[in-house]
Amino acid sequence: MTLLNHIWAFLIIIGIITGLGSAVYQAQTGVTTSRIENGIRVTETIEYSTWKEKAASITKAGNKIAGDMFDMVGFQYTTPEGKTRDGAVGIAIGYIGLIAFWLGLMKLAEAAGLVAVLSRIISPFFRLIFPSIPRDHPASGAILLNFSANMLGLDNAATPLGIKAMQELQKLNGKKDTASHAMCMFLALNVSSLTIIPASIIALRASQGSVSPARFWPVMLVSTFIGSLTALLLSKLMARLTPDTPRPGEPGSDPPDGGFSSPLTPAPGDPVGPGAPPMPATVPGTAAETTP
């Protein structure tokens, strides 16, 4: 089992048990809430005397936990402070336009040969970081664009370009439900924050009346660099210690869609037995993808 399974179970099991425990405890001792109002900490204590009040407070705590969870997986919700936030579905749906736009623009860049140019330029440098990406494969260009958008703090472009890069990497991956080494490396670098220009934080600090909104920048640069370097080296180590997923068509890879024999290596003159489904000469959409 991978780490994410353990973390997921941990968050849910420990979360609910803690919630139940603290609800029962707080029903006995009373609830102390503190919040910051105009820079001053305000503390309030509510105590429950009868068992009915206590039971009601336990019920309320349970409802809050369930309510908060359903808020976050839903479309939109309102925080106690009155702000409207998107839930999981809202975020995904709200992304449709942005993803569609950038995938469209990337298709243009690909058709015009721009991605190929970028891939050719960056390929020699990516040999070390992404050894499993073939020379001049469009995945290199897409990854480069995502890294650039991240570094410049172009948040709106970075995620759709990252998705595009993942799609390109998935074409090189023979086991479609499992991450390849290249994907893990790409993700590790992305989650280690590649930011060079932290535009949104500088803007936030300026809006809070900071006299030097960018003062933290040198420290952030060094720690970002060291964090990314750690991610890179650890991914390299894991790639050495564990086997990579097979390429499409290699032994152990998923059968291609529709159950045909691999479209990558169609055996010449493969006899189609009587009664076998008619096999198309090429599976649309896969022939071009699997021959870089």
Binding site: L4, W8, G104, L105, L108, A112, I163, S210, P213, R215
Partner: protein
């Protein structure tokens, strides 16, 4: 969010904001103009690519729901607060105040949560205080790990994320530790 008048900002900051403001329009201009001059059927090709947007976004939904549900349960139950309080004082508050520690702990799980905590630090200590400085540095050198993993792997339907989360969290820990040490010396020596 109130905006400050351009006259109050240093020159380099105005230039950098202008550059980043025009970056995306200029990229779009470059790609479209280049493709058009290369006689690509720009409109048709663009639509062809954009068609995938819907499927990708819908594909992400189950991954986001799984991550958000787990995080929501962990936060709403107060478990996150307990963990943060339990560990907050392993580092001297003068080096890393409990609020900043809390922010660093929340960051991989929730970007908006971490941003809210950073604003609390600004409100409580001041933007230009040491905790404000450290919070900004930590915020800038970390990412919303679980969210990024859900979106990127979700978009290509990869369920087995292997060692990504582990590597990401270790890298985040290193970045926070380096930020803290550097901030402590930098803030107290460079004026």
């Amino acid at each position: 969010m109130k905006t400050i008048s351009p006259d109050m900002m240093p020159g380099w900051q105005i230039l950098s904001e202008m550059t980043s403001g025009w970056m995306i329009p200029l990229i779009i201009l470059f790609v479209v103009a280049y493709a058009y001059l290369r006689k690509v059927k720009v409109y048709e090709v663009f639509v062809e690519g954009a068609k995938e947007g819907f499927d990708v976004a819908v594909m992400i939904i189950p991954y986001l729901i799984a991550i958000f549900a787990a995080i929501a349960l962990f936060r709403a139950s107060g478990a996150l607060d307990y963990v943060a309080k339990a560990f907050a004082h392993i580092v001297a508050p003068a080096v890393m105040p409990a609020e900043v520690f809390m922010m660093a702990l929340v960051k991989p799980m929730s970007g908006s949560g971490a941003r809210g905590l950073m604003m609390d630090v600004f409100g409580q200590y001041g933007v230009d205080s040491y905790p404000g400085f450290l919070a900004s540095a930590v915020q800038g050198s970390t990412e919303t790990t679980f969210y990024v993993v859900a979106v990127y792997f979700g978009a290509v339907n990869v369920r087995n994320t292997r060692y990504t989360i582990g590597v990401g969290l270790i890298a985040e820990f290193v970045a926070v530790a380096v930020s803290t040490v550097l901030s402590y010396f930098y803030f107290n020596s460079v004026q």
